[in-house]
């Protein structure tokens, strides 16, 4: 089974803090994705990566950056957290020739 893990299930941070969300997958997937999920808005793509050290902006990249130093790990960084970044963050991965994305359990981030 594909396993995608995220470093924290719940996280509380203060405005202005730098926040790191970590995602690790154990199936040697090339593609990795970061989404945020908000009520009424569904899943929105923040950033994605097709390979190590490669990254592409999704639909809502503002206020976020990412890092992919190793194939299995994809990090989402909030340079200076703001209250409007309070959300559920979901990481996903997929094989290079597959549309099927497998999700982690999510990190519920609250920014005070």
């Amino acid at each position: 089974d594909v396993k995608v893990t995220q470093s924290s299930r719940y996280l509380v941070k203060r405005t202005g803090e730098k926040v790191f969300l970590e995602c690790v997958q154990d199936m040697d997937h090339e593609n990795m994705f970061w989404y945020r999920q908000d009520p009424g808005l569904g899943l929105r793509l923040i950033y994605f990566s097709y390979d190590v050290k490669m990254k592409e902006k999704g639909d809502i990249p503002e206020g976020y950056s990412v890092s992919r130093e190793k194939k299995e790990r994809f990090s989402l960084i909030l340079e200076s957290a703001s209250t409007n970044q309070t959300s559920m963050y979901l990481c996903a991965s997929s094989l290079p020739d597959s549309d099927t994305q497998y999700f982690g359990p999510g990190t519920r981030l609250t920014v005070l």
Partner: protein, 115 residues
């Protein structure tokens, strides 16, 4: 822009009944569709997928139907059980060069199964 949507935000059924969850899409270029189940506090879980060269695909207790003429996708769950209670959402992929594997997600339908 074009997007994936859902007809009903909530669906309540009795245990043992069949459930049908609908999804409308507007991009005729979409060639892959996928259904996810998301239980409270968990990440989305893959249920079933279908490519545009198919009209129907069956899994264990689930069937996905694709009607390309009216751009409609449905998920049928047979003999619905309390454990099926969750948010279900569809997603589509539009083949588009370097973004081949991006999915566009619908907002979801909450399925509640009453015992």
């Amino acid at each position: 822009g074009e997007s994936v949507g859902l007809h009903l935000p909530t669906l309540s059924v009795q245990e043992g009944d069949n459930s049908i969850i609908n999804c409308a899409y507007s991009n005729s270029a979409s060639d892959y569709f996928i259904w996810y189940k998301q239980e409270s506090g968990k990440g989305p879980q893959f249920i079933i997928d279908i490519r545009s060269n198919m009209d129907k695909r069956q899994g264990q207790r689930v069937t996905v139907l694709l009607n390309k003429t009216v751009k409609h996708l449905s998920l049928q769950i047979a003999a619905t059980q309390p454990g099926d209670s969750a948010v279900y959402f569809c997603a589509e992929n539009i083949e588009s060069g370097g973004s081949n594997y991006k999915l566009t997600f619908g907002k979801g339908t909450l399925l509640t199964v009453n015992p």
